[in-house]
């Protein structure tokens, strides 16, 4: 029994544990053969007791495909594989970007959605018996949660990494990087080969160098058969809808005097959006090494979007999320 239910505070994940209990982490090591001789997973049991059917995922052993079950499956193009109790325990590290850009928009802060996402993932992983750690992307702090499914504890851990960031809020990533060399080391220690690294960020770094530094870090992480999923929190549509068009005095993280006075037009917004997307594409190219995925959480083009709706839409509706978690009912 968890200490918290759906969460009464705005920071709390507005999804009851009962709903999250229907999911379990569904992770598999990827590209097992890319690292010769490496034992990328730890066995959780010695028996080969059948546990469940589940859809075939890339990387699954083809020998575990249950053809009969696949034939009975309502979706013809989807194979079904047997899973057994000796499946491995997965290591999950969630890096939380807590920079100022993540604290916007005020109606639905990206950081809030990121924390909800992290909380849900931590809870599900803990309930699945997997090991979880949360990491502050910019400060480098790592908080180990183990296999805890205590939402209160999870929330406190997320709170800690968020507060730790608050002191350094506003500094550029590159500047923080020079002082957080050991912190990357802490992350590397917490991120063993074969683990899953979830990076929750908006990629709105101050400069190209910071972006490329993170991309390089992501790319390197994949060399240990780690699966890196960058969750891109994109609130552009919502924010631009709110500010509208016309003469604006732009304010926001990374902007200092003199103020940015612009005339917002569709053309300018499209151009800037294209510039942001281009940066993200460059990030993808630099970060991609076979075990990389970027998951976009987009805010609707509404003035007052509901954070809960955004979360529910993306957490339960995105394909890639379903690759991370699956309903227990699929057993």
């Amino acid at each position: 029994m968890t200490r918290s239910g759906s969460g009464a505070t705005p920071e709390a994940l507005p999804v009851p544990s009962s709903q999250l209990d229907r999911f379990r982490l569904r992770l598999r090591q990827r590209d097992r053969g890319t690292v010769a001789g490496a034992h990328l997973i730890r066995q959780r049991g010695q028996s080969l007791e059948f546990r469940e059917f589940r859809p075939y995922l890339p990387g699954d052993d083809i020998r575990h495909v249950d053809w009969r079950a696949s034939a009975r499956h309502h979706r013809r193009d989807e194979l079904v594989v047997r899973t057994f109790e000796h499946e491995v325990q997965t290591r999950v590290v969630i890096s939380l970007d807590t920079r100022a850009t993540m604290r916007l928009p005020e109606v639905a802060p990206k950081l809030q959605l990121a924390r909800w996402f992290a909380e849900a993932m931590c809870y599900i992983a803990g309930r699945s018996g997997d090991s979880v750690a949360v990491h502050a992307l910019d400060s480098g702090q790592v908080v180990e949660l183990g296999s805890s499914a205590d939402r209160w504890r999870i929330r406190r851990a997320l709170q800690r990494v968020s507060v730790a960031k608050a002191a350094s809020n506003g500094r550029s990533l590159s500047a923080e990087g020079r002082t957080a060399t050991v912190n990357w080391t802490a992350l590397e220690r917490a991120l063993p080969p074969g683990s899953v690294w979830l990076v929750l960020t908006d990629l709105y770094f101050a400069g190209e160098a910071e972006v490329m530094a993170l991309a390089a870090r992501v790319r390197n992480a994949q060399q240990g058969s780690r699966w890196v999923v960058v969750v891109d929190f994109d609130s552009w549509a919502c924010e631009t809808h709110r500010v509208g068009h016309g003469l604006r005095r732009l304010d926001g993280p990374g902007v200092s005097a003199p103020e940015l006075r612009v005339k917002l037009t569709s053309g300018l917004l499209d151009e800037v959006k294209g510039r942001i997307d281009e940066r993200k594409r460059r990030f993808d190219r630099a970060a991609s090494a076979g075990g990389y995925d970027r998951l976009r959480w987009t805010w609707p083009a509404e003035a007052d979007p509901t954070p809960t709706a955004i979360f529910r839409e993306h957490f339960f509706g995105q394909e890639i999320v379903r690759r991370l978690v699956m309903p227990d009912g699929a057993r």
Binding site: Y204, L247, R249, G252, P253, G254, V255, R261
Partner: protein, 563 residues
Amino acid sequence: MTYVFGALAAALVVIYMARPNFRRAVLSAALFFRDDPVLGSTSRIAWSTPHPTPLFYLQLSVVLLLLLAVPHCPGAAVMDRSVKTGVRVLVDRSASMSTRQNGATRFDAAVAALRSLVAPQQSAIACFSLSAFDSELTTIAENVGSAAELVDLVSRLQPRPLGTELSLVQHALAEAPAPSRVEGPHAAPLSTGALAKVDNGCATGPTIVVSDMPAPPWMESQNGPASRGDVWIDVSQPAPNAGIVDLVDTRDRVSGQVQRVRVLVSTFAGMPTANVTLTVRSPDGAVRTQPVPAWDGPTGSVDVIPSLPGRYTFHVNPGGAYRYDDDAAIDVPPSGPVRVDWRVARREWLARLGWTEDRDNPDLRVLPSIEMLDTRPAVVVGSGYTPRSGLAQPVTTFLETSPLVSGLNLDVAERSGMSGAPPLPPGFNAVLSGPDSAVWIAERAAPVAAFVPGLPLDGDDNVARFSSTVFLNAARWILERRPRPALFTLTTPDQPEPSGNRLALHPGEGNTGRTPRSVGAFAPRAPRGHQAERRLAFWPWLVGAAALVFLTERALALLRGAA
């Protein structure tokens, strides 16, 4: 100046209105707009078309309210010199203004009075014009901007030993047009204060006259200066004084010899007469101090017989508050026989009359013919008398007022057989004439000349006395009219300082005992702005409304900017 400030304010408003209304917008991706080449202008005063937003209309309302308030604002009215009262100041600087009273001169009192009068009204006065008067009216300064400057200008003036010509002041005040002539939008503030004239954009209205003379009666006449708002300030106060008020000479009518000089001395404002003495210095250096013996009320006289030609000086002691009447001097000319150019017979008459012959510089010419007349004084004598018994020369016309017929017996004239005058040149008027255009005695005023029937006859009969009377009447009339040197002169604007026998004995200047009399109360009409302020005070409401709308607009702008 008002328009300059107005233009600046309008320019600021336009710049503010034209300035782009940059609403604050917070974007997490704001840094991606940084260094963007397509950024709009970052100038705070960049020009752009105002956007018709609610904030724009609120700003427009503020401007309109302020514009509405401007005409009602007293500050604007005060700054607008065209609607303020200009004041003309006439300051008396005659000799009497040097009279000392209460330890200072009357001119000092005039300066103080002017200061106390105009300084409190400075805000209602656009400008001053300053003139000074004594024997003349002089413009000192036009378009003086402040009361302090005016007082400073007045204090730099000094009384001059000249008389006071009030007719100049009367004429100057009469220059002010009647109130009915004041027209136009700027006339209301001036009200009855007349718009006398406009100098360098300053319309002068009421006139302030500062003098030590009592306000003349014409000040308060119907439609007089007082009714138009002009003010007469008499700064005089009675101050004991004694002084010479006049020097009256008595001369022989024919020879012009000064026979007597009467020195008139007066006391004023309670100055005791008993101690007043007159010191006379003769040309030979003799000094004689004597009490003024004959007093007729406050005025006494001393008769001086000038036995010698030359300068006589007089000094009154004690002099009192006014100093220019304490001393006087006269120059008595030397006397001598009448110089005559005698061109007729019977020269023995020169000796009989005590005259001397002088053909070069005669006082009188005696001519036998009308043709010998020129511009010099002359008596033209006819062919004489032929007394006839029973044959009358009826006198039909005679000029009774003429000195030439003074003491004549016309009955004798009609039997005297007077020779008639030939045709007389223009300018001659018949004094005694008969029928048929017969003229026996005639005179010409300029050049002075006379025609008589003949020289005096010997004998003691009526005709001889008649002929002597006619001739001597003509000679006296002419000799009396010859110019005589004055014993003294008075100071003039060209020569204002007393010197020698040039005296400052202008009539009335030493009269320090007049009762002060001022007329009018100086109250420049407030400009229209001031009147509006007192009556309605509408502009504060407009400004207040503008401020309220402005605050509202700013609050909304902040709220929207923070959104």
